[in-house]
Symmetry: C2
Subunit: 200 residues, 2 copies
DNA sequence: CTTGCTCGTGGCACTGGGTGTCACCTACGG
DNA sequence: CCGTAGGTGACACCCAGTGCCACGAGCAAG
């Protein structure tokens, strides 16, 4: 099995390889479009074989999505740690804001990622599968806080509509270079939680 | 070109062939799962060639989705015809309810379709692409009514969250055999429009 | 130093979705 | 009777994704 140190090193090396693949993929996809680039081209650019690409990334879309699972886990942790006296919607909103609080240095790559995801149909489609995990986590939190089943209307509705708000905030942030991602998220969640006061 | 009558006949024949393909596909997918069935098997069951399948349906997912474009067009028409003094959210809600007002005889096939779409990951993914069209239509309506740009926050947010509500209503309707689709839609839209009163 | 094990890697073959192309056949109009 | 247009099937591709095997590097035990 190896010691803890060795395991860490191996995991780091694996992570580094994956990061190299993702960077190559992101650059190629951005330059030529997601569908126009083949896996062989990405693998060549990353200096690996086609077979190794799939071992690290699973699918073509995963090269863009990266380690999204980590986000879901962090979101789940934040929701579990939310204060019990905080309104449910506020806890969901705060968790979304916090999980999307990126360091300044990470923003360019995030922009590149999100632009691809929201622009390329194949990636947009794949997003639904990823979001399903997020929805399950949020719905479970709402269900726990309200004492109803996770597959009841309100938990599911809160999960899907808050995710819709988050996605919309991302779109706004991408399109409008001035607004902060956090500000966009706050704006969307406030509008949603208040029942769309702008429409009255 | 041919006369109007001839064109109609040709279109009808084409529509009938497509319906046969869709029915064969739906039955096979329901019985064995979406991924487990190949296009060749669907084509064989429909009595056509693999190539003809793609000419009629475009992609494997389209065989399940059917002529969804028609729904989007109808939704657009309803929104355009909505009374000007009706609140925006109410007009969107009413349009969703009306476009999903199926005849009793169509409900079994609708159940079959929606169960597949909401269950099979590949179809769920494809749904995002279809929903993007719906969102554009709704956002355009909200933008027209509120006098802001269609890609501003509120129109987009209304579009994505109302669609989230509709999807949630569909899930509820599928899971709970007793509730009407219309009732589920109303319940979801009411909850959304009021800012989730159940959570207070 | 050698043996044996593990693991990452590359190569290969195969399945399956989707597309372009061509040939055929049928139905219709002149 | 001929010409054409459109639906169809057959074939050859491309590409994503998977299973399998063989090779080589690194490490552990002898």
């Amino acid at each position: 099995m190896g010691t803890v140190t060795e395991t860490m090193v191996a995991a780091d090396a694996r992570e580094e390889t994956r990061a190299r693949i993702e960077q190559a993929a992101l650059d190629l996809f951005t330059a030529q479009g997601f569908e126009a680039v083949t896996i062989d081209e990405v693998a060549d650019a990353a200096g690996i074989s086609r077979r190794t690409f799939f071992r690290h990334c699973g699918t073509k879309a995963d090269a863009v999505w990266g380690q999204f699972d980590g986000h879901v886990v962090r979101l789940e942790g934040m929701l579990a740690a939310a204060a019990a006296d905080q309104p449910v919607l506020a806890s969901v909103s705060a968790a979304y804001v916090e999980v999307n609080d990126y360091a300044e240095a990470d923003l360019p790559m995030l922009r590149q990622r999100m632009r691809l995801i929201l622009t390329e149909p194949a990636l947009l489609a794949h997003s639904q599968v990823r979001y399903a995990d997020v929805d399950r986590v949020v719905a479970a939190h709402v269900a726990r806080r309200t004492g109803v089943a996770p597959d009841a209307l309100v938990p599911r509705l809160v999960a899907t509509s808050t995710r819709a708000a988050a996605t919309t905030a991302f779109e706004l942030w991408l399109a409008d270079g001035r607004i902060t991602l956090g500000a966009a998220l706050h704006q969307a969640f406030d509008e949603l939680a208040a029942g769309f006061p702008s429409l009255r």
